[in-house]
Amino acid sequence: MRTATVLLALAALLIAAALLAAGIGPYRIPPFAVLDALWQRLIGGPVQTTIDTVLFNIRLPRIVAAGFVGAALAAAGAAYQSLFRNPLVSPDILGVSTGAGLGAVVGILLGFPVAMIQLLGFAGGLATVIIVVTLARALRSSGDVLVLVLAGIVVGALAGAAISLVKVLADPYDQLPAITFWLLGSLSGVKAHDVAATVPVVLIGLAPLILLRWRIGVLSLGDDEARALGVEVGRLRAVVIAAATLVTASVVAISGVIGWVGLMVPHMARLLVGPRFDRLLPAAILLGAAFMIGVDTLARSAARIEIPLGVLTAVIGGPVFVWLLAYNRRKLLP
């Protein structure tokens, strides 16, 4: 089937991107040396040269992290677009990124170590969505998703205001730069143990989305129709929100706030495999991972200093989105 071919091609793209990224960086390592080091790691004992350090302690954790960040954000974006029946929805619609941002900048303000800041970010993201869902549940009369969206806007705005307050209170010499960089997104400090902590959580969150992908697609028809077709809408919605929140909060905790990926990659994937969610999800995951690896490679090698990821995704995402709309209107918009 055509879809299988596309997915295989995307998987190949992902692997190629990862290998290419492993060979790019400010510390010169010739391509042969990269492959050799990888091979050595696989078969023999590790050799503690600088090449090894750069590859396995700095570049590879970062590449893996970037892949999972892209995959998580794309999956969450695609799932929410189905859930809210709107192709213009991003993973932050219920405020998870803003809430994670608030948790993390409070951690920076209070001078906590990095691990704590990440934990606070994760907790902030989860807590925000819990508040939004609780608020929506208290307000709604019918099971309409509109109330969820409105609650998400309100709580997200409050979290954003709180972030601004933290910026005002922060020490402009010591803390404000750190806060600014965090809110723009970066993987520069990612270490192997960050990856080890994040990957399992992302996999746990992606599992239900992948397993239930057919039914999540049916959700896009609307609550009544989906129910009439045999889907327990309320329960499925809860699972999707929980899974999307889990994956998004866990990657934002290590990478900071990165926008556009969750909105744009599902669109690009839709162009390749069509709008059916059971085909869209795997395509979005693979494409998101490859995309983010590419962007992060650019972020760390285009200039001597790090370019924030959020800036790059917006700068790349905007024009790409416009191009998509212009040339593919028929396939994208009804």
Binding site: G189, R304, E306
Partner: protein
Amino acid sequence: MTTASRRRVLAALLGFVAAVTLSQTAPAVARTVTDSARRNVAVPDAITRVFAAGPPASTMLYALAPQDMIGWVRAPREAEKPYLLPATHALPELGRLTGRGDTLNLERLLAVKPEIIIDYGTINDTYRSLADRVQSQTGVPYLLIDGHFENTPTSLRLLADVLGVRERGEMLAKAAETILARVDKTIADIPAAKRPRIYLARGTEGLESGSKGSINTEIIERVGGINVVEGLREKGGIVRVSPEQVIAWAPDTIITLDRSFKDSVAQKPEWKAVPAVANGRVFLAPSLPYGFIDAPPSLNRFAGLIWLLHTLYPDRIDGNLRDDIRAFYKTFYQVEPNERELTTLLSGAGG
């Protein structure tokens, strides 16, 4: 009494009353000074209550005329108190006035009755207009003093003149000039190839730095160090870097402001590949009561110059670091830390 003599007494009485009244209510504004931004500001003759608009100004004020301080921008922490004049410990915390957007309520400013406000830092149109606005809104004279590192002696003299502490100002200015001369002499004959390549590590991860030309690394570059961080602009700012980039730059010296970074860096594999870490040349900058390297960007950094000279060029400099620092603290901060306090300070505590 006759009418004429009564009139004379009355006139004398009136004249006396007038003289007394006028002398009480006449504004003490008796002179005009020119600040670093070429603004002519009318200030009182004798000044006893000065508001410092931000930490850099506060440091200058403390050094020149601690007796005129109304309060601190931020109250001193316990660890900082041994290195500050006891008389200033209990001064109230007032908050900061400078920067984009006033965070200090102007009414609160007036409530502490300042006679003048001093601001020490960049001179540009933004800050000029801020100064004019606050001045016209509150009626309190607002002086902008150039915070350029090289102009510190000039600024010291200017501010001393305004505050009426010329003698002390001259002394401090000369001390600052002496330090600068000492720096120039020490590094004069070091060829460019032998200059130390330095990376300033900020934050617990050490991945934040100041790029070339930034105010954060100014004094590192002033003592002849080569800042390995090349930013995107001529005059840089704070940037983020990746550990791989630091390995590529291969600095031979790392200066850090964070104790946990210094303690843990030798164990981190991605940092071990950096020559500075491999050779044990990671130095934690002291910061009591004020940072030696970059915060606040004020004359506290002259202590940093001394410290850097001893740290980077121990063979080329004579004298003893402890003695030099003790002398600096006595001259500028008017305190004499004892041996234990000096050790604590130089070990980088408080960072």
